[in-house]
């Protein structure tokens, strides 16, 4: 009997607004605990929420980009549950009239295009963070800096049927949110989080099986592992004639498996009702249109422009526009130094390799566009060779120093003085008479050996073109 997985996802993205969704507190990441708080986000008696218009517009923008129907009259609802990271013991969210409904997104799964439906897109407030001492003390601490940050929830339909589908969905959605400039989507800072709903059914059947809802997935890699694990777990149970129950499960990173958290019977009743502290928001067609016009340049348009304006091959443009932060990185480099193809080459090879192995976003890289552009300029001006450039790049990555500083401090600048190079060439020739003879006898390949010797003697600093030229001259003269 063959089973097929049915997967739906809930994405939570912290919006890139400077202030929180219902008060004026800062949303900057990494501040000392409980320093970005006020009576409103602390949930003090008598404090009242006031909606952040930018946050609301970001959700409309996203809903439009996800092809949703926009609700004309939206309301905020209270989701009631007790937890110390939720100071009011209710979360302001949307349940009865979300901002967007019934959208879709196109994903590309190994070359095959698929559509994933969107159930709804809505706005809510984030909770704080509970910190449990690792020493296992009796008291836990609560940091409410995150409490009240604007959080957008995007709920997909259960339209995915493999881990590959889910991965493509997560990547496409993240990419879109970054392009829309509504969230920086930094998963390592918890600004984008996914929850997975997964069930199994016999192939060809329409009816959905009992689903597991899995929380605590802090990266796409984890989400992927979790989906693979769940498919196997549920398939094993069903294949052995077992029965699955609807339940919430928690991903356990340490043991790489999911654990039951609560069953359907224990499911919480959130007692949603309209929040009387906030008013209905009417999204009139003119407002929608205004927001639609504010949607920034998306991937396809940017790709076409990169080919037209910078003369880049389609292959390059496609990679550079694969994420908004990368495209921005490229364009910033270009502002400092005009050499699109060379910049593109450095980004596609050195930069992307380093970002990938460090799981880092381009804007967090110590090698900023200014660093990279400045270094390429030094290559173009022949101050350093491309080979030295690679050393400079890795030095910039570890120290964050500017390339000219690195080159100056370590004396890496190229030797362009013909006399200096000639002297070294002569020395190498005299030490390798046998090789010189074999070259004269027609073994051209041995040239490379001599060039290598010369470069080693100059620690790679000699200009390769000059070395080649002088070497050829000297050998044929003799």
């Amino acid at each position: 009997m063959e089973f097929e997985p049915v997967i739906g996802m809930e994405a939570h993205a912290e919006l890139a607004t400077k202030t929180k969704v219902f008060c004026g507190c800062s949303t900057a990441f990494g501040a000392a605990p409980n320093t970005q708080v006020c009576p409103v986000c602390l949930g003090l008696p008598g404090a009242l929420p006031v909606l952040n218009k930018t946050a609301f517009e970001y959700v409309i923008r996203t809903a439009i980009a996800l092809n949703c129907t926009i609700t004309e009259k939206t309301v905020f609802d209270r989701k009631n549950y007790y937890y110390p990271d939720l100071p009011k013991n209710y979360q302001i969210s949307q349940n009865y009239a979300c901002i967007g409904y019934n959208g879709w997104i196109e994903i590309n799964v190994n070359g095959e295009k698929k559509q994933v439906g969107m159930d709804n897109v809505h706005l809510e407030e984030d909770a704080g963070k509970n910190l449990h001492p690792e020493t296992g003390g009796a008291e836990s601490l609560v940091d409410l800096n995150r409490a009240g940050i604007a959080l957008m929830e995007i709920v997909s339909r259960p339209d995915m049927h493999s881990a590959d589908d889910a991965l493509a969905y997560m990547e496409t959605l993240k990419n879109l949110l970054q392009y829309l400039e509504v969230s920086d989507c930094k998963m390592q800072e918890g600004r984008l989080r996914f929850e997975v709903n997964i069930s199994m059914r016999r192939k060809g059947e329409q009816k959905l099986g009992a689903r597991a809802e899995i929380k605590n997935l802090n990266s796409m890699r984890t989400a992927l592992k979790c989906i693979e694990y769940e498919i196997k777990r549920q398939t094993d149970i069903l294949s052995n004639g077992g029965k699955l129950n609807q339940e919430t499960r928690l991903w356990d990173e340490a043991s790489f498996c999911t654990r039951a958290m609560r069953s359907k019977e224990q499911a919480q009743d959130y007692r949603y009702f309209p929040d009387p502290d906030l008013v209905e928001v009417h999204i009139m067609p003119e407002w929608q249109e205004k927001i639609r016009r504010q949607i920034p340049e998306l991937k396809d348009a940017k790709l076409a422009r990169f080919i037209a304006d910078y003369g880049l091959p389609e292959y390059d443009a496609d990679i550079l526009t694969s994420s908004k932060p990368l495209a921005t990185y490229f364009e910033q480099c270009q502002k400092f130094h005009n050499n699109p193809k060379s910049i593109s080459n450095w980004i596609m090879t050195e930069l992307l390799r380093e970002l990938k192995c460090r799981e880092m976003e381009p804007d967090d890289c110590p090698v900023t566009p200014r660093h990279l552009a400045c270094m390429i300029k030094m290559i173009d001006e022949k101050t350093i060779s491309g080979k030295i450039g690679k050393q400079v790049f890795s030095e910039m990555l570890t120290t964050g120093k500017m390339p000219d500083v690195i080159v100056m401090e370590s004396g890496m600048s190229q030797i362009l003085d013909e006399k200096e190079i000639s002297a070294i060439v002569e020395k190498i020739i005299s030490e390798n008479q046998d090789t010189v003879e074999s070259i004269r006898a027609g073994r051209d390949k041995a040239m490379a050996f001599l060039v290598g010797q010369i470069m080693r003697a100059t620690r790679g600093k000699a200009n390769p073109q000059l070395v080649n030229q002088i070497l050829k001259d000297k050998i044929s003269i003799k």
Binding site: G43, P45, G46, L48, R271, F273
Partner: protein
């Protein structure tokens, strides 16, 4: 001279004319407060030290002759569910014992800027849930007219304080009649402004869609002076209305010839005390003699007001009061083994019976499977009740009605039966549900010498009509000259 008996308008005048100082006035009021407090128990905290600092500051302002408001230097009492940065705000609940908010409510900030002297925080039903102030977690306030009786609630401390001249004026809050009912029981003027007229920022929420801060004063003009200072749009309260604020005092003194007074027949049906009915009808006749035109009207959905109110208010309360769990501030139960136990023990020990009852009922009506049957039905009934008023405004300018069915009852008389207690709100809650404004003004005394109030109701943002009618009646009736026997 007993300057503590002055009205706000008179005291303001004498301060401005430098006949008295704010320090003298504050001294007199605090002295009166201390002498009557053992009998009436109106206050939860008295701010003597800061009051004198504020009085001296007001005197300096008055001496400089610059920026003076009609409230500069006036000693005022504040209901203990309005946040004050310099005094504890307990909502008369053990769960907020010694809770000091780090911020001022918008109304407090406004009064502070006006130069008000804050003399103390007044007793109330815990979290404003009650009609008698018997539900306070700390003490029972007594009616200055008869200390065996309740002062009404939930702003009972504020009403009793003003009636006893222990404050020149006071702030209360009105969710279902909590300003108007105690005003009626204590023989003072109580105003429930239009929903959205006064900012709720810093008013500890009970039923957010119904709560509104209102003044308790010695007469109608004082009420208008207070509203001038309190009203206005507040960007910190999304439900506050961005509607211009007129000078309400100029509405006092206009004549009421031709003013149509609607008399809702449902408000004079069974359950009303004959003495109250007579006094209210006399008041209407008095207004008729001043040129007003009484007409009978109907508010047909009145019978649904009490169930509708209690479902809406309790649903909201169950969520509003969820934050008192001991995690972040306020009382926390000792010896809780885990977090769930911390919440349940804290709330079991910190809340009083009535609060728990309302939280449980509110939780019930919002629960899965009951939401449609209870909460949604109540919301629909609320729309119909509002519609009743909207239709009435086509025929009338103002509505006259009793405030409460009977004069103040005895302490403990209704404690055993919450339903009877809830029924005493019958004439006041409809306009909270509809968002309208209303005022309670003294209209006479029962044979036992207990004050009875007349309620006037007007359409949203028609407080001026209320003041015009109330002032005209008050000036011709003159009951406000009688003082309680203390």
């Amino acid at each position: 001279m007993d300057i503590h008996t002055l009205t706000l308008a008179e005291a303001g005048k004498q301060l401005k004319q430098k006949k008295i100082t704010s320090r003298q006035l504050t001294q007199a009021v605090l002295q009166r407060l201390k002498s009557v407090e053992p009998q009436i128990q109106a206050f939860l905290s008295i701010a003597e030290k800061t009051a004198f600092t504020q009085a001296d500051e007001a005197d300096r302002r008055i001496a400089e002759g610059g920026d003076i408001s009609p409230l500069t230097g006036i000693p005022i009492a504040i209901k203990d569910n309005i946040c004050t940065a310099d005094a504890a705000t307990t909502c008369a609940s053990r769960i907020l014992e010694n809770f000091h908010p780090p911020y001022d409510a918008t109304v407090i900030a406004k009064l502070r800027r006006a130069g008000v002297v804050f003399i103390g925080k007044t007793n109330m039903d815990e979290f404003a849930m009650g009609s008698s102030t018997e539900n306070s977690g700390y003490k029972i306030t007594r009616n200055p007219w008869d200390r065996e009786r309740i002062p009404g609630g939930s702003s009972g401390g504020s009403a009793a304080a003003v009636a006893a001249d222990a404050a020149i004026a006071a702030l209360g809050s009105d969710t279902g009649g909590s300003v108007r009912a105690p005003a009626s029981y204590c023989g003072v003027v109580g105003l429930k402004p239009t929903y959205g007229r006064v900012s709720r920022y810093g008013l500890v929420a009970y039923g957010s869609s119904l709560d509104q801060i209102g003044p308790l004063t010695k007469d109608v003009k004082d009420s208008a002076i207070m509203l001038n200072a309190l009203a206005g749009h507040d960007p910190q309260d999304s439900t506050s209305a961005n509607v211009p604020v007129p000078d309400y005092t100029s509405a006092c003194g206009k004549d009421i010839k031709g003013l149509r007074i609607g008399i809702p027949k449902e408000y004079f049906a069974e359950g009303i005390d004959p003495e109250v009915e007579q006094l209210v009808k006399n008041a209407i006749r008095q207004m008729e003699s001043l040129g007003a035109l009484p007409i009978e009207i109907s508010l047909p959905h009145t019978e649904y007001a009490i169930p509708c109110y209690y479902i809406c208010a309790m649903a909201e309360a169950s969520s509003n009061l969820a934050r008192y769990g001991g995690a972040h501030y306020g009382y926390r139960a000792k010896n809780a083994g885990n977090i769930l136990e911390m919440y349940s023990k804290t709330r079991a020990e910190g809340f009083g019976t009535e609060v728990k009852r309302r939280i449980m009922l509110g939780t019930y009506v919002l629960s899965a499977g009951y939401y449609d049957a209870w909460y949604l039905k109540a919301i629909k009934a609320r729309t119909l009740i509002k519609r009743d008023f909207e239709l009435a405004w086509e025929k009338t300018d103002i509505i006259a009605a009793p405030v409460v069915p009977a004069p103040a009852f005895k302490i403990g008389e209704k404690s055993a039966d919450p339903l009877t207690m809830y029924l005493s709100d019958i004439y006041t809650i409809s306009l909270n549900l509809a968002g309208m404004c209303g005022i309670s003004i003294p209209c006479g005394f029962s044979k036992k010498g207990l004050p009875v109030g007349l309620q006037l109701i007007a359409n949203i943002f028609k407080e001026e009509t209320l003041f015009t009618a109330a002032y005209a009646y008050e000036q011709s009736a003159g009951f406000f000259n009688r003082k309680p026997p203390l």
